[in-house]
Symmetry: C2
Subunit: 222 residues, 2 copies
Amino acid sequence: MLQDLALYGYWRSTAAYRVRIALALKGLDWENHPVHLVRDGGEQHGASYRAINPQELVPALVDGERVFTQSLAIVEYLDETVPEPPLLPVDPRGRARVRALAQTIACDIHPLGNLRVLQALEARFGATEAQRADWNRHWMAVGLAAFEAMLADNVATGTFCHGDEPGLADICLIPQLYNAARWQLPLDAYPTIRRIQAECVALPAFQVAAPERQPDAPPAGA
Amino acid sequence: MLQDLALYGYWRSTAAYRVRIALALKGLDWENHPVHLVRDGGEQHGASYRAINPQELVPALVDGERVFTQSLAIVEYLDETVPEPPLLPVDPRGRARVRALAQTIACDIHPLGNLRVLQALEARFGATEAQRADWNRHWMAVGLAAFEAMLADNVATGTFCHGDEPGLADICLIPQLYNAARWQLPLDAYPTIRRIQAECVALPAFQVAAPERQPDAPPAGA
């Protein structure tokens, strides 16, 4: 059903990173179309990318002639068209739990630390680099504390966020933890998250999706 | 399957408003548990609500003994347990489109103008009331322009955002437009959105879910 998949993304975009993990878990090949979010004021704002995604955000997945946007919608699309391995449980309660975990990151952490928001804090309020970093860490700390509480003391938590296979919640968690490291947020307060992180990063699908493995990433040490 | 539904919300929370519309479209009865987001520093931060939702955000839906959080996850849970009328199309491409529209609002507009974020802008950067309003309008204008572009020139757009029955995208759109009015954002630039808004607000399910119709809303003119 899927044909000629092309992903418009950016090596360090955590939303694109989610889709890369899902594609890898499903064993799908895709063509990489890097969109440089910083160079020349941001290629995502140019006419050619705006024709693909009027939101001027990455990622966008092209499947044949159709364009799909919003990382969580893309991951569920992949899950509905390529059922194995499943990224959501089959029972409605489990599906609701996994989606709530994913949205805790995708709605309530990630958008607040997104590039365009940090740029607006600087432009509108003169936020310094240190203040922007602190803003970002604050929302990550608030959100990850809730995420940890939702994992701990819940019998549905297994080797991964929900059960013993990786799924949509893990797909959102690992890129957010990459951002946490980038912004020097300590993870000591989140033992369940750290345990699950160790499980995920041992898997090839998470490894090949990592930012530093993407062709548009700068060379190590650059 | 659903039993003794109770919704923890707030009359003016647009995320709770989404769930109220979905409950009304499904014809479900529910018990109202208002959580006052402002009084006494915010009841959502108190121990009793934190035990229900560690994110300290509304809404939370209680179904029997189980708690569900995150409005989009709740709406999909309702859709999976009470299939009629459907809130998502059956085909994966259509489902992905509707979810992307919903997430354009739920991930990229609403979180940036949420109460806690506006409070943080004031506390951290001394943002004035006018600056906070302008911040809020900015992200609404950016997001609604993209939403309009995703609706216009797409053959899947019908009487409503997707086809001729209201669904998840409309459920997100109408509360966001309530917020747009509250913050005086003109809607002239979004003709398709305005056309769909007129269709939605004519429906009883959208009317009974409106903020001013909730028992915790202050009396008109107060």
